[in-house]
Symmetry: C2
Subunit: 207 residues, 2 copies
Amino acid sequence: MTDFSDKQIDILQAAEKRFAEDGFDGASVRDIAKEANVNVAMISYYFGSKEKLLEALIIYRISGMRMELENLSHEAISPLEKMMKLTELYIARINKNKCMYQILHFELSIKKRAIDIKAYTEVKRKNMDFLNKVIQEGQQQGIFRKDINTPLIPPTIIGTFFHLQMNRPFYEEVLGLTTDEAYENYINTELTNHIKQVIKAYLLHEN
Amino acid sequence: MTDFSDKQIDILQAAEKRFAEDGFDGASVRDIAKEANVNVAMISYYFGSKEKLLEALIIYRISGMRMELENLSHEAISPLEKMMKLTELYIARINKNKCMYQILHFELSIKKRAIDIKAYTEVKRKNMDFLNKVIQEGQQQGIFRKDINTPLIPPTIIGTFFHLQMNRPFYEEVLGLTTDEAYENYINTELTNHIKQVIKAYLLHEN
DNA sequence: TACAAAATTAAACAATTGTTTAAATTAAGC
DNA sequence: GCTTAATTTAAACAATTGTTTAATTTTGTA
């Protein structure tokens, strides 16, 4: 799976940066080659084509994106605490891989391309299974409300994060976040807390 | 503002479709011209360039995107009911203009382009002002919790919607939505209800 | 009808795109 | 050290890109 040489990883990292910042169509193979300090022909030589480079990048990144849910499922904590930790893990993972998420979100919503996202779908499905278990556990213990729409919980977490990310310039101004550190700090404190509060309130609130 | 001829509107609509489905860089002016049944040169003739076409499109669409918040602010209903109606209006507006939102979200997160989004920012700012008022009203009446992160409420609403939209193929399968009508119906019922429930719980829940 | 402006067209444009080629360089195995 | 394979390079490739040109058609007006 990770059978990439140093040079190939250079290209993959350069591609990730350029694809995320300029989009797949906006980034030329020459831009990527320059960013990676290699000859243009190396991209075709190693990956076959620009499209295959994208596919290789997606597989390369997603394989290292698995969450530590297994540890969480064996911890002796309440369903609510599990959900709070789960939320934190979600946010941390998206924040760490925001370039890849940026690329994925765009490619997924583009009808033109038909890239292989099996790896991505698989990760999502596993997360969903775990989520289902925790929610059911909480409901059986009478802690969580009964009418929870479980599949829409990940969209609530990830979507909130990403809408902020997508409109970063606007919210930087509104929230007075002038530096990169201030923005990063806001994500790790205020945003994370907000999302946790939202999820917590949703799970516990009774009509 | 709306001083566009029928032919120009044809081009704008074609551009919206192609930009939304293929991305700005992925859609060629020839594709757009073909979709609008006009000669390629007409785009330069009417709009000057591809970039200016995008700017014209954004202004054209956003000018018709204002929400009916004014009516809402004068209604004699509780802050909670206002927030519920506000949430519905948000979702309805995004759903109606999802193509434009798709384009905007991508262009905003692309560093390359420096398009004029003053109109978009203005709309967002106005919505935020209204939102602030309602939240404060609710807090003063002792209905809403005190520690609400108001700027993060729109991201929670819009983000949830858009994450579903972006991962539509995945959620269509998970939720068993086989037809376009089923998907559209899910948005108008389950999704809208979920987001309203989330917002309601967040506003009312006390620690 | 006649004339000027606007609209529309096909063709050409230079630049950029992803990819390939064929030669040159480096690395590895014996 | 020789040989073969792997890597790297500059150049060339055909196709596509956004845009312009110059000629033609349509429209509106007097």
